[in-house]
């Protein structure tokens, strides 16, 4: 078991390292950000920007360092100065970047860098503002959403709302999906089974955003026009009190208000999860019911209920463990599309906002954390599987 854990942890670290590398490459390719704004101002006449300004801003965003040092500073916050051993400094003169490159236009009219006027040495790295590194939770500063504020602050502000939605969705999906799957397997070919499988099929082929918009259409718009009880269509809380027929006046930000706002996004997400999970549990349960031990239990004369509860259910839910662990990254990441449709201020919406406003540090941070949680969830699923199914032994 420990062998397996060590091997898997090593694999995990490799996967995460490559994810960080991919993220970082995308981040450096990413357009937009303050650097581009500065470049675009360079051409205009209203502000004269000379080479010193450019060099300073480049240094501020660490664009003057060589790529590999930039990556390592982004990842672990090192090198942040010359190596200090026993009070003595080494490698103080090691060149790590170019503060002022010499630019020329080549034959095609494109600017190319031919040399370096002023290099950056390790000694000069001292005292520069640096992050502690992604590994230690410092994702840098936001470029747009909260200008120059730490990305972690931005993320933390969205987590409570996201957890509020996703935890309710997960609990509801478990409470509804598991029984639906189990019962429709027990009563195979019945009307119940047929309904459940059809609805699951519909649920998994209907795009979530369309379903969300349909719900808004029905419950928020049409009902309101008809003067019936309606649900508020967007955000997680209203900013003013409003009147709902049947419930009377609803105060802004009250518990009832939050509840009403949560109904529709929860329905969309739960429907989606239930569709997928109930299908999986159903097929798993069908396989279990065909097994010999179930036949033996029945032959022994046990009540059908006992057979199901003591033997079948437990075994049917074993493979489900590997599926349900993926709800963990979902809890953090929210639901990108549904939150956009319902304007729910969660992580998913933050991700889209960040991307459309070219605030790539925030986007990358969300992506990297999601990847990290997914990898952990995969490992957790595999480990749990061995606990739940004694027949599986990890070498």
């Amino acid at each position: 078991m420990t062998n397996y854990l060590i091997r898997r942890s090593f694999q995990m670290i490799m996967v995460l390292f490559f994810s960080a590398l991919v993220t970082y490459t995308l981040l450096s390719l990413a357009p937009g950000g303050p650097w581009e704004a500065l470049l675009s101002q360079q051409g205009s006449e209203t502000r004269r920007i000379d080479a010193d300004d450019i060099a300073r801003v480049r240094a501020q965003y660490e664009l003057d360092l060589d790529n590999i040092w930039r990556f390592s500073r982004w990842l672990i916050g090192w090198p942040a100065g010359p190596i200090k051993i026993g009070g003595q400094e080494f490698l103080g003169d090691f060149v790590v970047g170019c503060y002022k490159p010499i630019q020329e236009t080549n034959a095609l009219g494109e600017p190319i860098i031919v040399g370096c006027e002023d290099t950056v040495t390790m000694k000069e790295l001292e005292g520069r503002r640096t992050s502690k590194g992604v590994v230690f939770g410092d994702f840098g500063l936001s470029w747009g959403i909260l200008r120059d504020r730490p990305v972690m602050d931005v993320l933390w502000s969205r987590i409570p709302v996201t957890l509020q939605l996703m935890s309710v969705v997960t609990v509801l999906s478990l409470m509804i999906g598991i029984p639906l799957g189990l019962i429709s397997a027990i009563r195979q070919y019945s009307v119940f089974d047929y309904t459940v499988t059809t609805v699951s099929f519909l649920g998994s082929s209907m795009p979530t955003f369309f379903f969300g918009i349909l719900l808004i259409l029905i419950f928020a718009i049409t009902f309101k026009q008809m003067g019936w009880f309606y649900l508020p269509p967007g955000d997680s809380v209203s900013s003013r009190a409003y009147v709902v027929p049947l419930l009377g006046r609803v105060e802004a930000k009250s518990l009832l208000d939050q509840f009403l706002h949560m109904i529709m996004p929860t329905t969309v997400l739960t429907m989606f999860s239930v569709a997928g999970w109930s299908r999986f549990i159903r097929s798993s349960m069908l396989e279990v019911l065909r097994q010999d031990y179930v036949r033996t239990a029945r032959a022994k004369g046990l009540l059908e209920n006992t057979v199901l509860v003591k033997h079948a259910f437990r075994n049917a839910l074993i493979p489900f463990v590997t599926i349900v662990v993926f709800a963990i990254p979902g809890m953090f990441g929210g639901a990108i599309v549904t939150e956009t449709v319902f304007n729910w201020p969660g992580m998913g919406r933050l991700f889209i906002d960040a991307l459309s406003r070219s605030d790539y540090p925030v986007g990358m941070a969300i992506f990297l954390i999601s990847a990290f949680l997914t990898v952990i969830a995969t490992l957790l699923g595999d480990i749990l599987y061995t606990f739940v199914d004694p027949r599986i032994r990890l070498s």
């Binding site: 995308l26 259409l217 718009i221 070219s358 990847a371 997914t374």
Partner: protein
């Protein structure tokens, strides 16, 4: 011995219908089994109709997809334009563009993107999986590590990041001008839009081939030990020929099923990308970005989101039904 009274007739003549059943090719068998699923068959016909309608969009649509007429915004369905006498079958959008025409042109783009993505990812994935499964050893290890690594990463966020980067600076990926021109000519769109379409196809293919590769590898691993492969090798057939002429055709049944289900997924993913503003941009019509606009105006005109939303739903369902029907039709050939 007395001669029999009746003339002797050959057994074959008497028992012809039962002794010699009509010869059926594999394709006929599959087709017969497929048509037993009425839903799947009907979906296939529906998809064929949609495909034809999108192909002849220029002839069927009364208006162009980008004809703006701001004064005529939000006309009711069935309104007739006085100047030209053509009807707006589904009304107009917020800029006065005819919905019906836009839906048809959007069908062309959405279906083309989905088809291209699935074809390319099937080709790439099959080759990758077949080579990986056939050679085994280090090639297989490295290949499958790569596939697993990419599968572990959550795909939608990465997809969105790459789309948004490619959207703002499309010159990161060098696309030959000939390809852009070909796409623009084939779909009657400008070359800037053709570049967007190509980007979306590339981005979706980059994640689409993973599932196919894993599937193909599994199939190849189980077919690899069959006798005809040994025979081919003994005859000196080259590795490449073995892969392309023996392994891939025999592994194809689950690949086809997964491809038709992937078509449904591609239609939805492309519309999600466009809905979020990171796929194909306005004014090129695609069901996704039309849906995002209708959401803004939904409160005054409630029926609007149904217009682009229903085609997405119907196409996805139709592809799913066809996939299910194919899975049942091809069942005995699936090697479990």
């Amino acid at each position: 011995m007395t001669a029999p009274a009746a003339p002797v007739r050959k057994v074959v003549e008497v028992l012809q219908p039962e002794a010699m059943p009509k010869e059926e090719t594999q394709f006929t068998v599959i087709r017969r089994r497929f048509m037993r699923h009425k839903l799947a068959f009907f979906s296939l016909i529906l998809l064929g109709l949609i495909f034809l309608a999108s192909l002849f969009a220029a002839q069927i649509a009364p208006y162009g997809p980008t004809e703006i007429e701001i004064g005529n915004a939000f006309a009711r369905p069935g309104a007739v334009d006085e100047a030209t006498g053509k009807t707006h079958w589904l009304g107009t959008d917020h800029l006065g563009r005819d919905y019906f025409s836009r839906i048809l042109y959007a069908a062309r783009i959405s279906l083309t993107v989905a088809l291209c993505v699935v074809i390319f990812s099937t080709i790439v994935g099959s080759l990758f999986g077949a080579v990986s499964g056939f050679y085994g050893g280090l090639v297989d290890d490295v290949g499958m590590r790569l596939v697993e690594f990419m599968l572990t990463i959550p795909d939608l966020p990465l997809l969105l990041i790459i789309s948004s980067i490619l959207l703002q600076s499309p010159d990161i990926v060098p696309v030959p001008k000939a390809v852009i021109d070909f796409t623009a000519a084939a779909m009657y769109i400008s070359s800037r839009e053709a570049l967007q379409v190509i980007m979306v196809i590339l981005v979706l293919t980059a994640f689409g081939w993973l599932g196919v590769a894993r599937l193909m590898r599994g199939m190849v691993l189980s077919i690899k030990n069959m006798e005809y492969v040994d025979a081919a090798r003994a005859l000196g057939v080259s590795d490449f020929s073995i892969i392309t002429r023996h392994l891939i055709p025999n592994a194809f049944a689950p690949i086809i099923v997964s491809a038709s289900l992937a078509l449904a997924g591609s239609v939805i993913t492309e519309s999600v990308l466009s809905f979020l503003g990171l796929g194909i941009q306005d004014p090129t019509p695609t069901w996704g970005n039309m849906l995002s606009f209708t959401q803004d105006y939904m409160f005054q005109h409630p029926w609007l989101p149904l217009i682009p939303g229903l085609p997405i739903f119907i196409c996805a369902m139709a592809f799913n039904f066809v996939g299910d029907g194919l899975r049942d039709a091809l069942d005995p050939r699936l090697k479990r």
